[in-house]
Symmetry: C2
């Protein structure tokens, strides 16, 4: 047998996984649509000129590049080729790459369609992305992203609605133990100002973002190693301040008396919480976390991260506001936006770990119709089709076989109900319904069968 295998870091999703994944996708899509977000799909391939330079040098290395079609080597300079320097040659033999995320294609879409789009534009996008990363547990070379963004408005209603959408999605998914961490880029800048370290903001944020994971002493070590030699006590007094959101805001208000950025951060957060109350929602699950930085220089306003409690990889969603989505393509065009993303693989793993997928997130039929002989096989076809006409997912075992074999088939495929048809059922115009989980049997008329299955499906 020819050896067949999957490329490293890629996966098949068989029926059982697909049913659970579809449950997640459908739930999130439902929430996005309920909040007025519209679907978008972009091609898997983009021109390399669109992709390169957007993800840093490391990101460029992780792009999957597509070999040009036809005689791609013909026009490559022979001397250049003889160097065997892959980096020199790549642009000559490849002009397309696979998308690395959904943000850059979205920005490209907005720029190329800006005259047709009605702003504010609310879009969601659920598609796979590809990264030539070293595969490891929980890190794949192909994985889905699930993004929602609004561009073309500064309104903090969008931030409040992101929190509401996360709450709605988790309610549908059955996730009860989680925290939506929120912070603001301005507050981080305020902290940097207090340290007189505005020029080194980036290093500061990267270090304090690790507070959760490595603890205060290690963060202090890292900061000193990065050249923060001043007094760190005021910084850690702030990072360690315990209190509810209002108390934290009051405390920081005293610190930020001379930081315009810090004050803007606090007033934005206050307004988001006020809008949340305006929507009639509580701030349950919402936590203001001064140390949250998400390591990205990209964000300019509120930032979010969502963690699920009691699972190994808790961080399943994140996002924030940015002022420069389309600036990478058009410096004149500054469209403020805010967005967030669900990590589908992590959500899936968390829900498996918590064992909270609903029982009916299965890909099998609701009913198998089994038969005892040729005559009952023929008779069963009408039963099968009658159930389907009532939108009940069902199948007939497609060839004459022992009932035992047919029941095994239902059992292996996790089909919850089997209808058995024999000569007695044909004579009395009934069916025998067997519930696989319990083995319980009932004799029913066809209309009774339909009613029972409609309650279940």
């Amino acid at each position: 047998m020819e050896k067949v295998s999957l490329p490293k870091g890629t996966r098949d999703f068989g029926p059982a996984q697909m049913a659970k994944r579809q449950f997640i996708f459908d739930s999130i899509r439902k929430v996005f649509q309920r909040y007025g977000f519209q679907p978008l799909e972009t091609p898997a391939m983009e021109n390399l000129s669109t992709l390169t330079g957007k993800y840093g040098e490391e990101g460029d290395q992780l792009l999957f590049k597509i070999l040009n079609s036809g005689d791609y080597l013909k026009d490559v300079d022979s001397v250049k080729l003889a160097t065997k320097d892959s980096r020199l040659i790549t642009n000559d033999i490849s002009e397309k790459g696979l998308r690395y995320d959904l943000t850059v294609p979205f920005a490209r879409y907005v720029v190329t369609n800006r005259h047709e789009i009605t702003f504010p534009f609310k879009r969601y996008q659920i598609q796979p992305v590809w990264r030539a990363d070293r595969p490891q547990k929980g890190r794949y070379r192909e994985f889905y992203q699930c993004d929602a963004d609004v561009v073309g408005t500064d309104s903090l209603v969008c931030e409040a609605e992101i929190i509401l959408m996360i709450k709605d999605a988790f309610k549908i998914l059955g996730i009860n133990d989680y925290i939506v961490k929120i912070n603001h880029r301005g507050i981080l800048s305020g902290l940097a100002e207090i340290l007189n370290a505005s020029a080194k903001e980036g290093s500061l944020f990267v270090a304090i973002d690790k507070l959760d994971k490595i603890g205060e002493e290690k963060v202090k070590e890292e900061l000193r190693a990065r050249g923060f030699d001043g007094d760190l006590s005021s910084l850690f007094e702030t990072l360690n301040f315990k209190g509810n959101t209002k108390q934290k805001i009051d405390f920081l208000g005293q610190k930020f008396t001379s930081s315009e950025k810090g004050k803007k951060g606090l007033s934005d957060l206050t307004e988001v919480l006020s809008l949340l109350a305006g929507f009639g929602a509580t701030d349950d699950h919402v936590e203001f976390d001064v140390a949250l930085a998400r390591g990205l220089s990209y964000y300019t306003g509120c930032i979010f991260e969502v963690k699920i409690g009691n699972v190994s990889i808790g961080s399943v969603s994140g996002g924030g506001r940015y002022d420069n989505l389309t600036a990478v393509f058009d410096a004149k065009e500054k469209s403020s936006g805010v967005g967030f993303s669900f990590g589908i693989d992590r959500l899936y793993d968390a829900m498996e770990e918590l064992n909270i997928f609903p029982k009916d997130a299965r890909a099998s039929s609701t009913v198998l119709v089994a038969h005892l002989d040729e005559q009952s096989f023929r008779h069963s076809l009408k039963i099968v089709q009658g159930l389907r006409e009532n939108e009940i997912s069902c199948e007939v075992y497609p060839e004459p076989a022992k009932v035992k074999k047919q029941l095994e088939y239902a059992d292996k495929k996790k089909i919850p109900f089997v209808v058995v048809i024999g000569s007695e059922e044909i004579r009395t115009e009934t069916v025998t319904l067997k519930k696989m989980e319990t083995g319980n049997q009932l004799t029913l008329s066809f209309p009774e069968l339909v009613t029972a299955m409609q309650l279940y499906k």
Copy 2:
């Protein structure tokens, strides 16, 4: 501004198109699931060893190949590289390709998972495929395929159910004028036997498959050019025979007295029609077409093709039975299967041409909540959230703005209803509901609004 464009032959799908495409996908998925088919997804990338040699030499040329990561030229033989012969080098610098169809990945999945799969295995798969074809009207380099296959049974119930699924899908999609053409590879072989041309079956089928398009005289010319120098009159007497399915079967029965393959073809077709009747379905829309060949040596039993009437590109679906799905990977493993595929782009174009997409196949919110001032903006948040709690898709214009601007936003986004909130509405605890299409306005309580919108959504 940096010039940004899409790669040739690829497309974005914006909200309006996505809504219609999702309507098609959801409808077909619903039908597949109703018939007990289970979802499968495979990765976009497969090893080139899995893909090459499966689609003929031309197909191999049309595979999109992915450049190996890292320093891919390092180990390439310098002498070989100096030839600049692209064909010689490709295998050294590329080991993965994008999937070309869904059939080969499915076969690969079945072979690698055969010990876990319960047969008969009914799977559907809706994913994009990529072909480095020359782009032209209606032909893209990235497009979705939508396949359903059963492997592991010879039962003709599967063939009958394919016809039923096509009928069900078209009913949901609102397509009434169509023909499901059916033929059988054995009948085509029987025709070849009559001509004493069994050795040249392939050429014969390719030629007569064009009868529809180029007419009898041109087909005769092509056959003579291909070396069919015998008497073609009996062949065309058969091809031109007019009658219903039963009459055609009777007529061919007399021709095929000495062709075992031909007789098997007729008895299979007869059984498929009998099973269809057993399911309680008519053979409306089903037409036995002796000339249907689908140009593929691949099929071994029944073959199907679906044409929609009164549109420019009518052929939107096709398929058939094959005896050797997994043989390309494992010669010992012969799993009979039968499958078919919907062409999503063609279905979309046909439905646009017929103007039959339902009105609610739109991606917009059902309701925009508009406001007159800061106070009514705050008040509107509770209305918005109340509608969402009732699963009504809605949005609030996110910043204070003139009502005219808010109504224009709703109009451009094709949001059918606008709720206007002002001081009078706040005082009387009502809302003003405006239907955008007619301009009609109603004053309603919130519960009345919910009821009205639930009827509409």
